[in-house]
Symmetry: C2
């Protein structure tokens, strides 16, 4: 028996166990290769990668150290008695090996793999191997099996009293895209149930959950979500607060880290989340652009067909909408600035970004048209009416009040205006570059940081005129952002107008 110790180390989704080189338990292991161990003593065993130390400040020979992630999962206090054993490779890895060889796996095999991944029985290398093996070839039936496996059987949200539960999802990659926070109140004001599950940023400047988090609490559980949607028709919740689809977080961390983005897995992970949230009708926005996640129309079309097929098999009505992903949406990039844009649109202010307003109305209209009683083509107009009449704003305030208003973070006061070095017309704005500058300005960690895009594609600019403004709260971040912006601002200006 070893004594549990928390080792303050964050390692991004991987559980790590530390044992001292002189620990007796360690001698039982084949430790010349990377080893996974299992830790017993809690309600459920926790699986972790083994790191060996000779420093008693990290762990003593009679201690077992767990990093922050693993410690939390085990759920025992420091000093608790735990036992360890070398964890054999889970049997489902055989299925991964068969997939590597080109086999078609059964639904049961996908369930076994996903269950082992969600309980951390796979090393990150094994998860990567699974994703790559799936990437080479999957039948439509296999994608369906994978989707159902990720959604799980029991951890779903069940809506007993709702016939139609709708959602909007964007496959992402466009800075400043917070249409969800305008769509949700419009749709809820119309009376449709919309439990919007939103993500925090992983590699971007801000996720929808970060932006909503500026205005209201977004961390609550399934029970609260159902209660809020029943009362208000709409709610915006951070998906990490729900105990649904636990494998999807691990899968997407590895996917983003390695950069294995294959359409099969994009389709499976989106639909699994919607299936687990009990969504019956989904509008899926696929922005296409040279610097978007999806770069061409044929690629968008293949993804659309795939998602429609799997959606049909799961009885989720999916309306895939291909949109323009060539430049950022709205002005603000970063949580506080994006929340400002959202409220300007909801308040129908003159300075509200028109592209954000129009895109939101268009997509909300598509959602409203799921209503069989609505005449085709009326969705957009009804959405516009709900927005312009102030009903959407009223609903948003109700949602914010119900979820719990938060003290808003302050906009970064360290600013710099990035100016045009020539007179002309903004020809293009590079999404990736804007994202990078925003992240360096602090936006991915600090909600008050970000970029305010004053000029958008098609705007005329004079030499020396401001293109966008950097906001930081921290001098280090500010210096980093200033450093990279010198090289390339992401704006392309053609010297004369084409228009």
């Amino acid at each position: 028996m070893l004594s549990l110790k928390k080792v303050s180390v964050q390692s991004f989704e991987d559980n790590i166990a530390y044992i001292h080189k002189s620990c007796t338990g360690y001698r039982a292991f084949d430790v010349k290769t990377i080893t996974r161990i299992e830790i017993h003593g809690g309600i459920q065993p926790v699986y972790a990668s083994l790191h060996i130390t000779e420093d008693i400040n990290i762990v003593k020979p009679d201690e077992l150290g767990l990093n922050s992630e693993a410690y939390e999962k085990l759920g025992l206090p420091e000093g608790a008695n735990v036992s360890i054993a070398q964890s054999p490779q889970p049997p489902s890895v055989e299925s991964v090996k068969r997939k590597m060889e080109g086999s078609i796996l059964s639904a049961g095999e996908y369930t076994a793999v996903i269950n082992d991944i969600s309980s951390n029985r796979y090393s990150m290398m094994e998860v990567a191997s699974f994703l790559v093996a799936c990437g080479s070839f999957m039948t439509a039936q296999e994608i369906l099996s994978l989707t159902e496996a990720i959604a799980g059987e029991n951890e779903r949200v069940f809506w007993d009293n709702e016939e139609m539960v709708v959602d909007h999802h964007c496959i992402g990659g466009i800075p400043g895209n917070k249409v969800d926070l305008i769509i949700a109140p419009i749709v809820a004001a119309y009376g449709m149930a919309i439990p919007k599950t939103a993500a925090r940023s992983i590699t971007s400047c801000s996720g929808v959950a970060d932006v909503m988090g500026v205005l209201a609490n977004v961390d609550f559980n399934e029970t609260k979500l159902k209660q809020l949607v029943t009362e208000n028709r709409g709610a915006i919740v951070c998906k990490d607060s729900l105990s649904i689809a636990p494998a999807s977080k691990i899968l997407s961390t590895v996917e983003r880290s390695v950069g294995v983005i294959n359409q099969q897995h994009v389709a499976a992970s989106i639909l699994a989340l919607k299936l687990a949230t009990g969504i019956t009708h989904l509008v899926l926005d696929v922005p296409v652009g040279p610097k978007a996640r999806i770069k061409s129309m044929p690629e968008a079309m293949r993804l659309r067909k795939l998602i429609e097929y799997v959606g049909d098999m799961l009885s989720i009505e999916v309306d895939v909408v291909v949109t323009d992903g060539s430049e950022p949406i709205g002005s603000g990039v970063g949580a506080v600035l994006e929340a400002r844009d959202v409220m300007r649109v909801l308040r129908c202010k003159d300075n509200a970004p028109q592209d954000l307003r129009e895109k939101s109305l268009f997509l909300a209209g598509r959602l409203l048209e799921f209503d069989p009683n609505l005449r085709g083509g009326q969705g957009y107009h009804i959405a516009k009416d709900i927005l312009d009449s102030g009903k959407a704003l009223e609903m948003m305030n109700k949602i914010i009040y119900s979820q719990g208003r938060e003290a808003p973070p302050v906009l970064g006061q360290l600013t710099r205006d990035v100016v045009a070095n020539t007179t002309g017309v903004v020809e293009a704005i590079d999404n990736n570059r804007i994202m990078r500058i925003g992240v360096l300005a602090g936006a991915s960690q600090d909600r008050g940081a970000g970029l305010d895009l004053i000029k958008k594609v098609g705007d005329s600019v004079e030499q020396g005129e401001t293109l966008f403004r950097i906001h930081s709260t921290n001098p280090t971040d500010f210096a980093f952002a200033n450093g990279v912006v010198e090289g390339y601002s992401g704006y392309e200006i053609s010297p004369r107008s084409h228009y």
Copy 2:
């Protein structure tokens, strides 16, 4: 600038950097996903995975911690000034992605991938992705490119004054297989140059380098290797001591951890090592058996053809020999016991294991027949003559003396005889089980530990008679080995003789 600190953590080939959550350098990173950073200040940058801590006992805000592996690579003292930067994904990862999509990669692409892997620019997940992507399909030309990339251009051993440089290699998986230490002195005594590169155990009870290490020093560099072979015609060196094929260690660690063993990569990694060592003629032993790495004759045949093709393209003359891999070779399993077997065979003792002697003579004969002046079919007889006349023993003593005799470790004195529970004939011995019991007895970490196999397949046994003896030096290991042996000893005894 941060101050360098060594953090005593072993993590099995992956470099890890620790920074404090309040470290200013850290704010520049997108740290919501797994991040690799580069550390500057040494002769070459070191690449590492980032772990974040809040414990100043691990690192303070102005410190950069490196785990044991990474610290050694950077080559700077503690307290040295270092700078860090977020490491972008190396451009060669694009080739890995293209391979995932089924593309055929060029020789230049394989070189770029392997160079980035050997400089630790890939995370372990990315290495796994590369191996899995290669596993689905590779052309023969691609295997050739991969082999040449692993061998590298400059880190090879060049033999200016040798026309023929020979070696023997076994693809492994058979406990107790130390034929190399009998083959090498026979071949060297004949006058052929044999720079035998041997491995330490990774997941097995002992590697050839561990067994030779009982008798002599095996850690020396290329210059010393060339000098020894020039003087004695033979030497046995641990391959990790040579600075050749640096990617191969990382590749095989990940391969073994995930269990992605594909023939393409087996062929490439063996031939790359031989190419880098300057081998011109190779006998490759492929043991086939139900509990060997290669389980069937068709599988052995495919591997043979593949290795012959790549060998031809590299101008390495390869003689692939398929042998019986159904049971362990010799009596001893574990370094000290195996060294004892080797010396018994070289000394032509009555108690020398006959299977070890015969297999060694057979394979040494195949090597000798690379000599164009030798009449076909004479190899075995000449090998036997060299062994029986004592010339092989004399050569072995010369090699041991030249490499430097080591004080031999003591055989484990904690012993237990595992006995037959029925009278009959030994029908089969499970290689995997013998390996597992040996590892638990301490053999992979402790050269004095291991198993002494008294009975082999075909031997008659009485109930209660000893099948094998467990040797441990450490009571904990001894208890572990005793624990598992109760369940299943690995021996199958049929109640009556079939013979």
